[in-house]
């Protein structure tokens, strides 16, 4: 039995079955990321675990204890909200000590725990300020500090980085990763950003329409997506998934049979651009995006199939140029007409 066990969890809002039966086990000390497009139910699932919504069907077991019907206050879980949800009328110190004060802990214990959390998060100079006087990043750290102080069984994060600007987001992501490394606490983290998922998670749970599409380590999801949805959700720029019919040369070039009506998936880095003469498929350049460290080249074949190719070198190509495409069969993913994987790329260098 895992540390946190979800069994057949279902949730319906009105007529809509938002969560359609989730089975999942999370181990102690793991950093699990729930990721998926908007409306996939990831936040709902988090709130079901937190106790902020009532579970309609299924069982939730934490450390051997059935918490399915327990109120949030008794589950020993702490949540960091997307909007931080700090108590505006309390100081930072009071915000962080609120739960302990409610539990009747002694003044000494409270002070010590708050101080420790504040040290970890660089909040010591701000303990007497109110949330209004803090910046967005500081408020977020207070929200995290509020959770740390409680030493809960599991930390729950609900899209904590969405309200930060891009620069702060990257920085805070690193801080959260370090925090997990130092504290070793079990964490469930919800985000729509697959970069956060890839970089923070021990394991990623990809959700769509209230169901789990795939669970695995980030790289496992990247290399061996179970279906087209996961393949295109993980990795940026998206994996090129093209109908087999759109590029007749596929079967010949790749040397393998594509399922009828199926698709071929190739990551941008698996597509090489050469001169038209050396190419396996002919195409012309639509757009060049020079990012400095890498270059993305959007091409379109004569039949209109679109690909994005990624390379580390700069390019002299520009829109309209004719190019040849070379595919590496070892890196091809094949999907059937329903999007299920028929073959993952093999021989991937690790």
């Amino acid at each position: 039995m895992s540390f946190l066990q979800l069994q057949g969890i279902e949730k319906t809002f009105g007529d809509v079955r938002t969560i359609k039966g989730i089975d999942l086990g999370i181990e102690r000390g793991e950093f699990v990321v729930f990721v998926g497009p908007s409306g996939c139910g990831k936040s709902t699932l988090l709130r079901l675990i937190a106790g902020l919504e009532v579970i309609d069907l299924g069982k939730l077991v934490l450390d051997g204890r059935d918490i399915t019907r327990l109120p949030s206050s008794k589950r020993d879980l702490a949540m960091v909200f997307q909007s931080y949800a700090l108590y505006p009328h309390m100081s930072v110190a009071d915000n962080m000590s609120f739960a302990l004060r409610l539990a009747g802990a002694s003044r000494a214990v409270i002070d010590e725990k708050v101080k420790r959390a504040a040290e970890i998060l660089n909040l010591l100079p701000y303990l007497d300020r109110t949330p209004r006087e803090l910046s967005g990043g500081q408020r977020q750290r207070v929200a995290i500090g509020r959770a740390i102080v409680r030493s809960p069984k599991i930390f729950l994060f609900d899209e904590p980085l969405s309200n930060l600007d891009a620069a702060l987001r990257g920085q805070t992501r690193v801080e959260i990763a370090k925090l997990h490394r130092d504290l070793g606490a079990t964490t469930i983290y919800v985000t729509h950003d697959q970069v956060e998922a890839m970089t923070l998670a021990d394991r990623v749970v990809v959700l769509r329409d209230g169901q789990i599409e795939q669970v695995g380590t980030p790289l496992a999801l990247y290399d061996r997506p179970a279906n087209q949805f996961v393949a295109q959700f993980i990795g940026t720029p998206r994996m090129n998934v093209v109908a087999a019919d759109a590029v007749p040369q596929f079967e010949a070039v790749l040397g393998m049979k594509v399922p009828a009506g199926g698709f071929v998936g190739l990551r941008p880095e698996s597509i090489a651009l050469t001169s038209p003469a050396q190419g396996q498929v002919q195409a012309h350049v639509e757009l060049v995006e020079a990012l400095g460290a890498e270059t993305l080249i959007h091409v379109s074949t004569d039949r209109g199939a679109q690909f994005v190719s990624r390379q580390n070198e700069r390019t002299v190509l520009s829109a309209g140029d004719a190019v040849g495409l070379r595919f590496d069969p070892a890196q091809a993913h094949l999907f059937d007409a329903q999007g299920r994987v028929a073959r993952n790329a093999g021989a991937v260098a690790h």
Partner: protein, 313 residues
Amino acid sequence: MHTVAQPIASPGDDSVASDTVQDERATASRWLPRVLLAPAVSTLFLWMIVPLVMTLYFSVVRYNLMQPGPTEFIGLANFHYFATDPDFGPSVINTLLLLGSVIAITVLLGTGLALLVNEPFPGRGIVRVLLISPFFVMPTANALLWKHMMMNPIYGVLAQVSQFFGLTPIDWLTDHPLLSVIVIVSWQWLPFACLIFMTSLQSLDREQMEAARMDGANALQRFWFLTMPHLGRPVAVVVMIEMIFLMSVFAEIFTTTGGGPGNASTNVAFLIFKQALMNFDVGVASAGALFAVLLANIAAVFLIRLIGKNLDK
């Protein structure tokens, strides 16, 4: 389609029974809200129903307050009496005139003032505060302020000003009673309309204005095409609110003209009052009250619909 990460534990595992700890929030949610709502709902219900039922009853009996109690059932005679009262027609007209004039004055002037004060200028804060003031003066003080200080034909300010310009002063309350009441009530409600419009103008979309400016619209066009539609809704609200509250204008008439001379400044509310507490004819007054309530209902229906749309946000 999903990948199961862990085998599902079968029921009957060694976990703590799930339903022993009840969520106190869930149980409280059943009875607490109703208990909390009860005092407000029940008192308001009584406040609404009891007078209504009594009024309905009184309107069909003969009842004079000088006599011990209601005497006999007389059907619709009270309604007939009220409607054929020579003061009835004029009172309805006066009510409509009062309503229409005050609404027109407050909306037009209120819009103008709100526009004037919308952009910053020195002393704007004080101006706003001053403009609000008349609304908080109690109606009786307001009425007397105008009756004696402003409108008195000899010593009043208006009289002195017209004398200064060589005109004969007007005896407002005697010669133009309804107009005087209109002035008094408008003065009181102008700040209300002004405040509403000021608030509404603050929420005007600045970016939309700038876009219009860049598109070449001049000030008048911007006002007509952007500001006016935006003000449409608060104007509707002000009109409806004023309709509802101004229907009951009473204190001002009571304190200044007493409904006269004759019935020149009597409105429906004052007429009912006259029947009830001057003629002590409860029956007729009740009939009149039902009529007033009917009028108010019409306005209320529209207002409720407007609020309802807002409540859903």
